[in-house]
Symmetry: C3
Amino acid sequence: MKRTLAEIANLINGKLCGDYDENLVITGATGIALAGPSEITFAVDPHLEEAIACNAAAVIIQEDVNGFSKTCIKVKNPREAFNILLNIFKPELKVEKVISSKAHIGKNVKIGENVAIMDFAYIDDNAIIGDNVEIYPNVYIGQYASVDENTILHSGVSVREYCKVGKNVIIHDNTVIGADGFGFITKDGKHTKVPQVGNVVIEDDVEIGCNAGIDRATTGSTVIGKGTKVDNLVHIGHNCVLGENCLVVAQTGLAGSTIVGHNVTFAGQVGSKGHIKVGSNSVMAARTGLIADVPENSFYAGFPARPHQEWLRIKANESRLPDMMKKLKLMEKRLKALEEKNN
Amino acid sequence: MKRTLAEIANLINGKLCGDYDENLVITGATGIALAGPSEITFAVDPHLEEAIACNAAAVIIQEDVNGFSKTCIKVKNPREAFNILLNIFKPELKVEKVISSKAHIGKNVKIGENVAIMDFAYIDDNAIIGDNVEIYPNVYIGQYASVDENTILHSGVSVREYCKVGKNVIIHDNTVIGADGFGFITKDGKHTKVPQVGNVVIEDDVEIGCNAGIDRATTGSTVIGKGTKVDNLVHIGHNCVLGENCLVVAQTGLAGSTIVGHNVTFAGQVGSKGHIKVGSNSVMAARTGLIADVPENSFYAGFPARPHQEWLRIKANESRLPDMMKKLKLMEKRLKALEEKNN
Amino acid sequence: MKRTLAEIANLINGKLCGDYDENLVITGATGIALAGPSEITFAVDPHLEEAIACNAAAVIIQEDVNGFSKTCIKVKNPREAFNILLNIFKPELKVEKVISSKAHIGKNVKIGENVAIMDFAYIDDNAIIGDNVEIYPNVYIGQYASVDENTILHSGVSVREYCKVGKNVIIHDNTVIGADGFGFITKDGKHTKVPQVGNVVIEDDVEIGCNAGIDRATTGSTVIGKGTKVDNLVHIGHNCVLGENCLVVAQTGLAGSTIVGHNVTFAGQVGSKGHIKVGSNSVMAARTGLIADVPENSFYAGFPARPHQEWLRIKANESRLPDMMKKLKLMEKRLKALEEKNN
């Protein structure tokens, strides 16, 4: 993909400034340090200085930046503009929309139009695959599972029996949708399996990272809401329900029946006790450990979780603990001395 | 699967109460909110009110509940009774007990009776597969590894060379048994691999979630004891030995040579330092960080781990830290004032 | 593999001591508890007593140990010597260096000499595979990806498009190299994917455990430096750069753009905020939570991370918190009494 500088400025609705040749051919978009003389990059504070010295053909900057002594394109939002270019210049991968004769297609499987199913993928009996779906090698789709249109399943993904994956979903390599929930009844010290007969429903526009695990419900459905994005190595227990447009950052683990509203962020390595509710528009800072319900619009941190400001105050005092201890001892001595004087 | 209401009451050794047609045909068992008029559900406190209003044909409740104004079946243990029904009504999956010609069967492999080995599974040379085993697609069984009877290995599972998996074991998708332990000798800043020549032994009746990793021993065996259940994304280091009937909840990580007794519970996201012992019948609360031995029958929490009650007291005081700090400052002022008065 | 006792002493540059037959045939090397009469083991303090009573033919011990009343081989470094023997006695696995006709080899793929590519491995178009590489079943190598000589990729590993894996690398089962970084632009509550058009570069002599995930860079490269060892279930975010000879222990997660020097150790379950720098030769204790840069040669612990000594002091005082609180209350009473007396 190649575009002239003028075409690029036009594409991102920006204004070319400085010393430039508008017919210069641009071949890529990349980071400041990597960009060569036929590539474009972007910069925001505090990277403007670095960008002035870089090799890029031009730098996308914010429209209100002054004194930028290098060819640039001024736009309202440099990040968004750069994003558009990344999409244009991203390396083209070829995915042939064919169903490989070396894939396994079970009995009574329904497959839409324009689908890629690569070698060694296994589509089990009674599964349904929508239009334009891409299924990479070594993917397993269980019996009666369904994958809706435009969805991409990377290598080694498993979508177990009865699970439903929506439209425009991306699931990265080796993630497992619908393994059994961790449910046992313990009697006389022995653990007997509770059959996990529910499923998982992944709604439209969801993305899930690699090596994550989202367990099927005991009964009913574990749900990942529309537009929610889940990072690598996340664990979502049985019967969790996540609302729309949540962000679940890497290595977070939500125990069974955690019920989450919309637009909730779990920063990395968060954990939740099961059977609690997290209100919409809330943010759990990294490593938050939830043991009780969280109201809407909250910003929580710590373990046990508490409002972030409160956590900050505790952490600040925590580092003064050794001093506090010393002071306490000293004060006791002084108090004792006074008491003796007063007797 | 269909059963009449009377048959169901009989099956779970319960007593039908309220207004009912004992010949009503029941087609499923599911949660309160989902159950329709030909399905059965169960309820315990505090869900009894909700259950009275639900659409289920009947609700399984405890025998000592009074005033439940809806058709119900009274039993000693509603959860156990419901579990029996889940097992009866669970959706039937068909697994053909055949060895696919599209699987790889290595040299000198021994395979029992009535075994399913699906396409793209790879059984390496000298492996042994017992009777009634089900091996899903893309599973890898290493050289000299063995899988005993009635065991189910879901898609993408890897059982590496020399490892032994017992009877009636279930391993969920993409879990790895027997990757090399993390062992290096560091000399002049360089890390040289310590050969990991031991194996993993998974005893009978174990279940392991998806995307977990259980490392082979340096020498000897890493052992998961009979009846122990391991959740998703758990890490078990080389030479760990877990006793019988333990529960290891999601994202827990046990460092090398952690030796665990019987009936021990590790709630989610627990971590242990290597080379420590955890006594039988102990419970590690979620996120406990073990750095030393734990006696039998302990209930531990926190990092570093301590008795749960102690941890609760510390956490309670932690939230009072900012107040404490203020009070301390104030008291110092008052003390100083008194001292001046006394001089 | 069999060696006489004399040959073994010679191999590890040690001195046979005690009562021995130098022609005794040794068939294996294993741990103290497991070693039989034709095997060899090693012991260092505090395991010497146990080793004297064990069944091994001989015990490798440090040259300065006196009064060891059993056949032994004295060496400078017992651990290193034992390591040499583990390498000699380790069970031989046979890997046929052939390209299976049941693997998928894409268009324009380049493959070196003496390569093993097993059934159901999928090498996508334009990939490059170096000499002596071993690729196990169900591995996926993406378009334009490369794997350099002597590298071993275990079953289910995914090396995504454009990623580069160096020489003498070992990657364990189901690990994913180059899934998309977790990058989104949020506008009106909706998350739009930032194309992840960079790659991952794994340098020479790296080893990575099972079920780990190392994300591709947004632009440029995520880098794992030469000789660095990464354990199971580790998450490395987009654009992280790790130096040489680092150790990243299990379940650690480094958020995007964490920049790490050389010889850095992350003990288990560590987490880092993105966009921070960790100086060379530093050690992060288990569970450290990094939220800011770490200087070189640091030993950090806790969350938020601080120098390890400081953390120890805080933790020590933490357990005295309940007592402190009681003392504070008591002192306040005494103070009040004094104040009244002085009025």
